[in-house]
Symmetry: C2
Subunit: 111 residues, 2 copies
């Protein structure tokens, strides 16, 4: 049984975008936009999956997985996503860090 919190990914190599963020107190429109971005990302060429966790203090990590650097660039440049990035930077995040990394090895275990 596939746990939907985990991304079902191919064998490496592939790419990851590690987005760490601390939420600001202003939240208007955030949840709706975040859900919309997940929906849009999943429609992008080269999208492989996403995993996300946010704690009660507002610190979160979202890792999205992509087939190539080109796929990540295309998603970054997507028009509606550009608007969301601007709103995120201006209003929703007090601080964020984004790291693009090439996944070289992967393994896991489930009961």
């Amino acid at each position: 049984m596939h746990d939907p919190a985990f991304a079902a990914l191919p064998q490496p190599p592939y790419y990851s975008v590690i987005f760490s963020s601390c939420r600001a107190t202003v939240a208007d429109g955030y949840e709706r936009t975040a859900a919309r971005m997940l929906e849009l990302a999943a429609q992008q060429p080269g999208y492989l999956g996403v995993e996300s966790a946010r704690d009660a203090e507002g610190f979160g990590i979202t890792v999205s997985y992509w087939a190539s650097l080109e796929a990540i660039s295309a998603w970054k440049a997507q028009a509606e996503h550009q608007l969301a990035q601007q709103a995120g930077q201006r209003r929703w995040y007090a601080h964020y860090e984004l790291r693009i990394a090439r996944v070289e090895r992967a393994y896991g275990a489930a009961d």
Copy 2:
């Protein structure tokens, strides 16, 4: 001001270990061991930093950052960490996935 939830990292390239996990219901000893592993990791050669978030449903992502693949291998092989990995697999995690990735680009913003 440095927000302690975020790792203070050098310029890329460096390496990341993306550990996604879903906690099991059994929790004896988990918190203490998790804190001890953070303490031990920070003493390892090549350790750069860590970021971690876990949501209310028990799904979490911890990303640790390292100077090299050799540093990651040495940490994986560390004796006390080996015991913790075994307990994690047997008791504390219902499911986990671990991905080793080379960070190639990084940027961020803070208010």
